[in-house]
């Protein structure tokens, strides 16, 4: 089975794609068949992924490549390929596992939606695209799936098509990510031009192997940066992060699947995959392109964490936390901790899906309300949701020892602390840790503690089909830490291609204590700040956020997402729109006139020649004719027919002759 799957890797993405097509062709009422088909497709993908995963366990640094020719242009072949290595294998497992939970959850969450069938078709399509992305052995094939993922995201964000805000968000997501994608596209072209191949691994000639890398030379930095543009778009890195919070317009399972666990991970995955290009010519592990990755990551991580503190929408908070965590992963990749970044990506996939699904359960229980200020006291009403959500929150905040997020965060802090270029990113990340604990505490206090407010009066626990995936994911979020601990860094070594061993001493690290303090401080600060939220506290009205009361301007700034959207609207978008208007105006009035003007010159010339014709040549001919006729008439008048007249003329003539001769003589 495992051998067989290595030759048929394409089946893994093909199954969800096929399922998606089948579902699309179902008539609209067949909810049950659609759900069954989608879940079955996902299970099949999970099983296939698992069989693909097995051989990678046996040999460290396993890599199976299967290349084929897509098409031949001229006399050159364009080759694509499938690739299975630890990086791809763990991504496969994570996507299919988290995906399955989300699919199951969706059957409950979306029950009753009139476009249920279409939803599962899109969801399967998305899953297929994502699976294809991670097993691509060609930057072009990766790009193709990358764009398909973007398409799926567009369709799913705008799923509630009758809502104008959803359509706007979908458009924004597509266009914003496309900006990054075009950078990626240019990078891809450049890479293709330099190395002559887009295959990652091709028996030594691939663009990630020495054969290809040697041909890149100094352009590697630019290629890497252009590829990173794509990652910035998909992974919501500053300054292309603006689409991700708006993407919460989609149904919550979509937010969980796309904007937490899988799609946004694609950017991080891309950087990890193309890492040899980023690190080409590294001195001490630092290159210009990696430097950019680090700083973009730092800015994103901090900015998003700050904004998250002032948001009121339960999903938006999670969206900003996702952005922040993605920034963290980028930092990790940039400083050289590829394995650490990927580990965090995987752990994050589990607990962020858990959090989003938990949020979905809360929203479901509160009848569609998403504003945390209107919730509260849900802890007793939704016990399963609460406890699983708390696990997710702990993991996200990075509580050490028991939660997967804690271990991976440790790992990242560890590698960042040892970055030779600067210590600053490390300190910024520490601030980020504190902030993460703070905003998650704020959220959980608002939602689950205190008194019931408007929306939570009639809240109820969600049905089992929704709570089961929550429990499964919560267990994953905890159990996953087994393979992450420094005592048995199995995942780390698996990703880096070495064999893992057990050594309990490594469990005790200096940074562990530091982050314990920081997380604890974050929790404490949060509990202290938001302890009386929702009730009147001295001068503060009940519906005002404590931070808003203390620092209204700062809060306004953060609440409005640092006014980045407004800034873009006033500058880039306004400029583009202006240039569009200008182009149209130029077309209608300038170019058309210019071309017509040249035509006009011709016309003038025509008029001029015509007048010469009319007045000169034509008139000349006319006059000649008229003159001839006149002359003829005149002469014919002399022919009177009177012989005597003729005779007298003769006589006069003779007389004249006589006189002439006389004069001559």
């Amino acid at each position: 089975m495992s051998r067989w799957i290595l030759d048929h890797l394409w089946l893994i993405p093909a199954v969800p794609f096929a399922v998606s097509l089948v579902i699309l062709s179902l008539p609209n009422g067949r909810h049950k068949s659609a759900a069954v088909l989608a879940v079955a497709g996902q299970v099949a993908a999970l099983v296939l992924s698992f069989f693909a995963f097995l051989p990678t366990l046996q040999t460290p640094g396993f890599r199976a490549v299967q290349n084929f020719t897509w098409f031949t242009f001229g006399d050159h072949a364009l080759r694509l390929g499938w690739l299975l290595d630890p990086l791809a294998a763990v991504m496969l497992m994570m996507i299919t596992l988290v995906g399955l939970c989300i699919f199951v959850f969706s059957t409950g969450y979306m029950a009753g939606d009139k476009n249920f069938v279409r939803f599962f078709a899109y969801l399967s399509f998305f899953s297929g695209a994502m699976l294809g992305l991670v097993i691509s052995n060609s930057l072009l094939l990766l790009f193709i799936f990358w764009e398909l993922v973007g398409l799926a995201s567009y369709l799913l964000i705008g799923f509630w098509i009758e809502r104008p805000s959803a359509a706007t968000a979908a458009k924004k997501a597509f266009v914003t990510t496309r900006i990054g994608d075009l950078g990626f596209f240019l990078g891809l072209l450049w890479l293709y031009g330099r190395s002559g191949t887009l295959l990652f691994y091709d028996g030594g000639d691939g663009c990630l192997e020495t054969g290809g890398l040697n041909m890149l030379g100094a352009s590697a930095t630019f290629i890497a940066l252009l590829i990173f543009c794509g990652a910035m778009g998909k992974s919501g890195q500053f300054p292309l992060h603006v689409w991700l919070p708006d993407a919460m317009e989609g149904p919550t399972p979509v937010s969980a699947l796309i904007h937490a666990a899988t799609m946004v991970a694609a950017g991080v995955f891309l950087v990890a995959r193309a890492y040899p290009i980023f690190s080409l010519g590294a001195i001490n592990g630092v290159t210009a392109s990696l430097m950019v990755v680090v700083w973009i990551g730092v800015i994103t991580a901090l900015m998003a964490a700050l904004i998250a503190i002032a948001q009121a929408d339960i999903k938006r908070i999670l969206a900003y936390s996702t952005i922040s965590q993605l920034g963290l992963m980028m930092v990790s990749l940039g400083v050289g901790g590829v394995a650490a970044g990927m580990m965090h990506l995987l752990a994050h996939g589990f607990f962020k899906a858990l959090l989003f699904l938990g949020a979905g359960s809360v929203i479901h229980g509160c009848h569609g309300e998403q504003d945390i200020r209107k919730m509260g006291g849900l802890r007793w009403l939704m016990p399963i949701t609460f406890s699983t959500y708390a696990i997710g929150m702990m993991a996200l905040s990075g509580v050490p020892l028991f939660f997967s997020g804690g271990w991976t965060k440790e790992e990242i802090l560890h590698v960042t602390a040892h970055w030779p270029a600067s210590r600053l990113p490390y300190y910024f990340l520490l601030i980020g840790v504190l902030l993460t604990a703070l905003y998650m505490t704020r959220q959980i206090i608002y939602v689950f503690f205190g008194d019931r407010r408007v929306a939570s009066q009639h809240a109820h626990e969600s049905p089992r089909v929704m709570t089961m995936p929550l429990i499964a994911l919560a267990i994953c979020a905890i159990l996953f830490s087994i393979v992450l601990t420094p005592a048995w860094p199995w995942l780390h070594d698996y990703l880096t291609g070495t064999a893992a061993d057990v050594e309990l001493v490594r469990l005790i690290q200096s940074t562990l204590f530091l982050s314990l303090v920081l997380v604890g401080a974050g929790f404490a600060l949060g509990i202290w700040m938001y302890r009386k939220v929702g009730v009147q506290d001295r001068q503060r009205p009940a519906d005002t956020d404590p931070l808003e009361f203390a620092q209204p301007q700062l809060f306004r700034f953060l609440e409005n997402k640092m006014w980045i959207d407004e800034l873009y609207a006033r500058t880039i978008i306004a400029f583009s729109w202006m240039s569009a208007r200008l182009s149209d105006w130029m077309d209608r009035h300038f170019w058309d006139r210019l071309v017509r003007g040249f035509g006009g010159i011709g016309q003038l010339l025509g008029v001029f020649t015509a007048s010469i014709d009319e007045r000169g040549i034509n008139a000349g001919v006319d006059e000649t004719t008229v003159g001839t006729r006149g002359l003829g008439r005149l002469i014919s008048a002399a022919h009177s027919g009177q012989i005597q007249t003729y005779l007298s003329v003769i006589a006069i003539g003779v007389l004249a002759l006589l006189l002439f001769y006389a004069w001559l003589a």
């Binding site: 014919s636 022919h639 027919g641 009177q642 005597q644 005779l647 007298s648």
Partner: protein, 104 residues
């Protein structure tokens, strides 16, 4: 008064002029014919006069020419009269003002 060439030439010119005048001014075709005959007579007179007053005048030469000329004139007059009669028969007039068929 002795006859001189000059005298003859004057008479001849006068005769010619009278003939011409008649040919030009009369409207009746017969009179025009008579005018033409007079001009021919004037020309004959000239022939005889130049012959008579030439330095070596031989007896028959000048007269011969004159007689020829008169004969031709007679023939011409006959043709002319025949034409006039034909025209008269056709148009019922001999007034040349009405005979403008040669008009171009």
């Amino acid at each position: 008064m002795t006859p001189t060439l000059q005298l003859f030439l004057i008479i001849s010119a006068a005769l010619f002029s009278i003939g011409l005048l008649a040919a030009l001014s009369r409207r009746h075709a017969i009179f025009i014919l008579i005018g033409i005959e007079m001009m021919l007579a004037a020309a004959n007179l000239n022939f005889i006069a130049f012959w008579r007053f030439s330095p070596q005048s031989q007896p028959p030469t000048g007269v011969m020419i004159a007689i020829f000329s008169i004969a031709i004139a007679a023939a011409e007059a006959a043709v002319g009269l025949a034409l006039v009669i034909a025209v008269y028969r056709h148009y019922r007039t001999t007034n040349v003002d009405h005979l403008n068929q040669l008009k171009g």
